[in-house]
Symmetry: C2
Subunit: 293 residues, 2 copies
C-alpha cells in the first residue's frame, strides 16, 4: 500500500470510530504508528523520521476533543525526534517499540487508576454511570476479581450512539446487577445510587471534565441528591488548557432521526463539559485528588 | 355495545395512550363520559347515575400520575351527584352537557395560561423545552398569531416515546426556528437558551412538578446556567397532595430495547418530579406566581 493511502485510511478510522473511548483511540493511533514505522517509505533515517512525524501530527488532530490521542502521540513524537538508530532498520524497530511501550504504559495507567477508584466502593455501593468507559468497567472487573462484594450499577443508554448498551452488557457479563435507563432518567435514578462514577475523554486545566454528552446532567443530579461524583481516568487525559475555545466534536445530525422540516436543525454534539465545581474527586494512576472544600 | 365492554375499552384507551398530555387525556375521559351518559344502560335516573359515577371512578384512576384526569372527572362526578333531571332523557342530556362544559373550561384555561406565559417572551427569547406539551405549543401559537417577533426553541427528543419529535414538528410548522437535540444534550444546550418552559402533568401541593422524565434534568441545567425555569399549566393540574407516595407511571421496559441479559433490568419510568426549589414561577390561567426569593 502506498504511504498516502495508508495514512489516509488509518486517520479516517479514528475519525469514524464512535465506539472506542479516547484512550483506546490513542492506543489505536500508536498501533498505526508502529505499523507505519515498519512499513513506511524512506531512503534513510532522516526521511523516515520526517514521514513518521508528519503522520503522527495527522493522527494527533483527528479527534480534537480527545486529549490522550494528542498527549500520547505527542509523547511518541518527542521520542522519535530524539531517536538515533545505527541504521534505518534499527531506527524503524526502535520507533515501533516506543509506540508499543506507550501503549503498555497507557494500559497500566488505566489499571492503576481503576485500582484507586475501587477503594471508593463497598458492599452497599450503587454506582450510577453514563455511557461507555473502559476505565469504569476496569473498576468493576477488579472488584469482581477479588470477589469482595456484590456489584450494583445504574447505566444510561447514551443516545444516539447507545454506548451504554455495551457498558451494561459488559458490566452484567462480570456479574454486576445492572439497572438500565434512558438518559432522561438520570435525574430520577441518581436518587437510587450512592455514588456517580464516570470516565473522561479529557480533563481540562481547572479540573472540568470533557466526556460523553449527558455527563454534565449526571453531575448536577449527583450534586442535587447529595451523592459524590468521581471522575476516573489516567493522567494522559489531563491537558494544560481551559474550556474557553475547546472544540467539542459534533457528529452527523442524521443520527438523531429528527423530523425533516426546513425550520428544524438537529444538533448532535458528542461531548459536554462538566464544571470542576461539580466534581467530588479526580482519580488517576497516582491516586485520588479530592476537590477543595 | 354492552356497558361493561364500552367502559373497559374506553378506560384501556386512556391507559395505552402514550402521546396525549394529561389535559388531553382528561378531556378524552370527559368525552367518554358524555358518550356514556347518552348510551349507558339504566332504567331510571338513580340507576343511570350510579353507572355514570362508577365509570367516572374507573377512568379517574386509569393514569395515577395525571392530575387533571382525576380533577376534571371528579368535578364532573360532583355535578352528576347533584343533577336532578325531569326524566331519564333530560338527566342523560344534562350529564353529557356537564362533561362538554368541563372540556371547554379546560381548553379555555390552557389558552389563558398560555397567554400569561407568552408575556415572559420577547424577540430575544430562546426557549428550551422538553418533550411534548400542548400548553407550550399554545404559547408559541399565540405569539405567532400576533406576529410579534420571530420564535426560537430548543426541543429535546424525549426518549423512549420521542414525543419531542411531535413538539418540534408542531413548533416548526408555525414558523419557529427549532434546534432539535437529544435528552443528553439538555445540559449543554441550556447554555444557549434564555428561558426554560415546560408543561406539567401534575403540580403537587408544594409546587413540585410531575412531568415527563428528564424535566428535572432541564430544571437543574437551567438553574446552573442562570436562566429561569417556568412551568405553565391550567390549575386543574394542581393537586393538594405531596410527593411522598406519589405514584410515577412506569411503562413497558421493552421500549428501551435494552441488551438482553439476566443481570440487566431496564426501567422505563415515564415521569420525574422537579422540586419546587428549582422552579422560577408557575403559570396558570389566573396568572404567574413567582417563587419566593
Amino acid at each position: 500500500m502506498d504511504d498516502a493511502k495508508f495514512r489516509r485510511e488509518h486517520r479516517q478510522a479514528l475519525v469514524d470510530d464512535r465506539v472506542s473511548g479516547a484512550s483506546q483511540l490513542a492506543r489505536q493511533a500508536l498501533e498505526s504508528l508502529a505499523e507505519y514505522a515498519g512499513s513506511c517509505a524512506g531512503n534513510d533515517i532522516t526521511d523516515a523520521r520526517a514521514r513518521l512525524l508528519a503522520f503522527a501530527e495527522e493522527l494527533q488532530y483527528a479527534r480534537p476533543s480527545m486529549a490522550p490521542l494528542y498527549n500520547l502521540v505527542q509523547r511518541w513524537s518527542d521520542q522519535v525526534e530524539r531517536l538515533r538508530g545505527d541504521d534505518l532498520d534499527a531506527f524503524r524497530r526502535a520507533a515501533a517499540e516506543a509506540a508499543e511501550a506507550l501503549c503498555d504504559a497507557s494500559i497500566t495507567a488505566v489499571v492503576d487508576a481503576a485500582g484507586h477508584a475501587a477503594t471508593l466502593l463497598d458492599e452497599h455501593s450503587v454506582v450510577i454511570t453514563h455511557s461507555l468507559s473502559s476505565t469504569v468497567l476496569e473498576v468493576f472487573k477488579q472488584i469482581h476479581a477479588r470477589q469482595r462484594h456484590p456489584l450494583r450499577a445504574i447505566v444510561s443508554e447514551s443516545r444516539p450512539g447507545m454506548e451504554g448498551r455495551d457498558q451494561a452488557r459488559a458490566l452484567a457479563g462480570i456479574g454486576t446487577a445492572v439497572t438500565y435507563i434512558t438518559d432522561a432518567e438520570l435525574g430520577l435514578f441518581s436518587g437510587k445510587a450512592t455514588l456517580a462514577l464516570v470516565g473522561a475523554d479529557t480533563v481540562l486545566a481547572d479540573g472540568s471534565v470533557v466526556n460523553k454528552v449527558g455527563t454534565y446532567l449526571l453531575a448536577m443530579a449527583a450534586r442535587d441528591h447529595g451523592i459524590p461524583f468521581y471522575v476516573c481516568c489516567e493522567s494522559f487525559k489531563h491537558v494544560p488548557f481551559h474550556a474557553a475555545g475547546f472544540e467539542l466534536d459534533e457528529m452527523p445530525p442524521g443520527e438523531l432521526d429528527a423530523p425533516r422540516h426546513a425550520n428544524i436543525t438537529p444538533r448532535n454534539v458528542f461531548f459536554d463539559i462538566t464544571p470542576a465545581r461539580l466534581v467530588t474527586g479526580w482519580v488517576t494512576e497516582t491516586g485520588i485528588r479530592a476537590a477543595a472544600q
